[in-house]
Each structure stands twice: as C-alpha cells, then as structure tokens.
Symmetry: D2
Subunit: 119 residues, 4 copies
Amino acid sequence: MDVLKTLQTQLATFASERDWDQFHTPKNLAMALSGEVGELVERFQWLTSEQSERDALSDEDIRAIEEEMADVLLYLLRLADRLRVDMAAASRNKLRLNAEKYPIAEAKGNAVKYSRRDK
Amino acid sequence: MDVLKTLQTQLATFASERDWDQFHTPKNLAMALSGEVGELVERFQWLTSEQSERDALSDEDIRAIEEEMADVLLYLLRLADRLRVDMAAASRNKLRLNAEKYPIAEAKGNAVKYSRRDK
Amino acid sequence: MDVLKTLQTQLATFASERDWDQFHTPKNLAMALSGEVGELVERFQWLTSEQSERDALSDEDIRAIEEEMADVLLYLLRLADRLRVDMAAASRNKLRLNAEKYPIAEAKGNAVKYSRRDK
Amino acid sequence: MDVLKTLQTQLATFASERDWDQFHTPKNLAMALSGEVGELVERFQWLTSEQSERDALSDEDIRAIEEEMADVLLYLLRLADRLRVDMAAASRNKLRLNAEKYPIAEAKGNAVKYSRRDK
C-alpha cells in the first residue's frame, strides 16, 4: 500500500477512535486545511524570497515549517478519505493536464503567461 | 520509491524544463498553495455540511474538487522539494505528536477541547 | 475624513514609526492578510452553521473573532495604502457590479447559480 | 453614518433582496472571505516584492487587485453584520492593542521579533 493510503487509513482510525467523524465533514476539513495553510504562510510572510530558501532558514524554522506542512497533508488526506478521492491518481492526472496546458516551448521562463493561464 | 517522492521528482523536472525554478521560491510556493486552497474552499462555501458529503456531490463537483485537491498536493510537494523536507517522515512524525496531544480518553467526541487545543 | 482613511493613515504612521515599511510590500501584506483570515476561519471550522451564529457564541468567542476581523481589516487597509487604492470607492464600485451580475429575479434564493457565477 | 456602516447596510439589503441570508451564516462567510483572499494572493504569488509595488503594476493589474480587495471588504462587512460586530470600534481597539504589543523602541526595524510576536 502506498504511503498516502497508509497515512489516510491511520488518520481514519485516529478520527474514529476519538469519535471525530462527526466534525470531519468535507466542508469542515476544507476549512481546517485553509487554517493550516494560513499558519504555513505566516512563517514566510516577512521573509524575502532569498530568506525563505532552505539554507537561509534556521533548524528551528525548518522544524516548525515541516510541522505545518505535515498538518496540510494530513487534513488533505483526511478530506480525500471522506470524499473517496484517490490522491495519487488525481495528482498524476493533474500533472498530465498541466503538461498539456503549459507546453515547454511556450511556458519557458514566462512568469506572466504562467500566472495568467493559471487562473 | 514512494508515490510522494516520485511526484516530487516529476514536479522538479516539470519546473526545470520550463525554467520555473526562479519563480518557485519557498515563499512564492507557500502563496501558490494558499491560492489553491482558497479555490478548494470556494467549492464548499455555500454548501451545508450534509451537501458537502461525497454522496451529495455531483460527478462534476467531484471532478473539480479532485483537481483542486491535486493542485494543493502538487504545490505542497514542490515546496517540500525546495525545502528538502521528507513529507512522509514529517507526516508520520506529526501523527505521532497528535496522538500524544489528543489522548483518546480526553479527546473523545470533544469538539470544543479539540478546537481549543488545536490552536 | 472617513473611518477607512483615518485608520489607513494611523496604520501608515504606526508602520513608519517602527521602520516596518521595508516589510510592508504589497506581496508581503497580501500574505499577512491571508494568514489572518486563516486564523479567523479556524474559529469557525468545527462549528455547525447554527453554532457560528452570534447568539450561539460565547462572549469570549466573540471577542476573539472581533480581534481576528480587525486584523483582517487593518492589513487590508495597510495594503490599500501601499497600493494607493481607495477602498470606499472600490467597494461601492464592486457593489454596483454585483447588482448587475446578480439580478434579483434570477439570483433569488439560488445558491447553485450564486456559487457558480461567483467563480 | 460612516462608510463601513453604510456599506454594511447596503450589503444586508442586497442579500435580503436575493434571499441569501440562508447562505450567509458566519461560518459560510468566513469561508467566502478566505476564498476571496486566496484570489488576491494569487495576483501576487509569482511577483517579486518590487514587482508587487504600485508603480510596477499595470492599470489592468491594479483594477483586478482593487476588485479582489473590495470583495474581501464586502464579505468582512457582511460577516460583521451577521455577528453584530462594530468594525470601526474593533479596529481602533486592535490598533491600540498593537501599540502596546509593539513598543516603538523594541519593534523598530525588527522583522524577526515582529514576526515572532505576531504569532
């Protein structure tokens, strides 16, 4: 079983043992995900892009950021479980769609086009 | 190689081929992640919790939600790559911390305590 | 002078006295705004819609929510100052656009159309 | 009547005419606010801090950003209306709290302390 499905199953057990399924509706989980991403963004908001790079961050920063990133993944997988979404398949599919949407020749080094077409 | 690392490597190649590493600073990727989660939240904002459940959503809704969820995972993995974070290890670690933070006996069915201690 | 412009000026003085203009680029302020909204969303994530109504919230909840809402407005006005955006004019303009976009007869009680056209 | 209360009243009428109060629970409005901030963040995500400044943005960019900012304010005021929060008073209060939290002498030019204490 892949790591995503293993984590997903562990999270389902975790929630079930605590009787939390009642709170874990897809709507609520989308909100929780959004809250966690807000916490991740706060870690970077006053840093320059250079200061946000791995080698410029302290070990303490990295540890905190890792925890926020894990929170994001855990809520995303909890949501996937509740919606019966296969995250690995969905991600492979999206990567394929992106390859069609941004052909190398056109997208190369093009931030403006990138940002526009990404809307 | 696990599915997360495979996707992460594919995304790194995707960005590199398009000369997008210049845009993919951790700061910018955290913002992009936040934008994608915003799009996911929009899918649920006017639904009741019941309407947000899998069986209440149309196939078209599910397809759109799957795409937004994939976008979240892809940006998260792109960020993990740039910060050299092992997402599988970080997630297993966080799950362990959560098990300590929310002992079953205390957390059982307790939304208020849950939400409070989650801060 | 209207309340928005008064607050905006006070915030500009506040930042200038602390030499924070260097951190308050529009990009960084958009991130800070996003972080604050994340904190606001966290206040509501495990509540049902009924539990999120004023009369169901404790005084302590309300006080905390008020603070988060103020943070959102303050960063929004700080951003408006840096981008020289007239928030009152922009809001009146948007309200007018919304009136055209959602004619009463069509939009009445229509969550689906509402949510679709809001994209 | 100040501009915030005027807008708030207009929004209440707007929602009431369309029978949208049923969708405008505080929980749902917090989500909608989060979605709008996500759209605002997307406007800045691939820009450098310098490119995000007013004079570096095109008129078209500014117009789009103004609309997103107005959306944020409108949902914030709609939420204030539903929660009976006086946004002007709450903001003045928060500004006063911030002045205590960040004394000029200590906070001056200090991004790290700023970002830490802001948590």
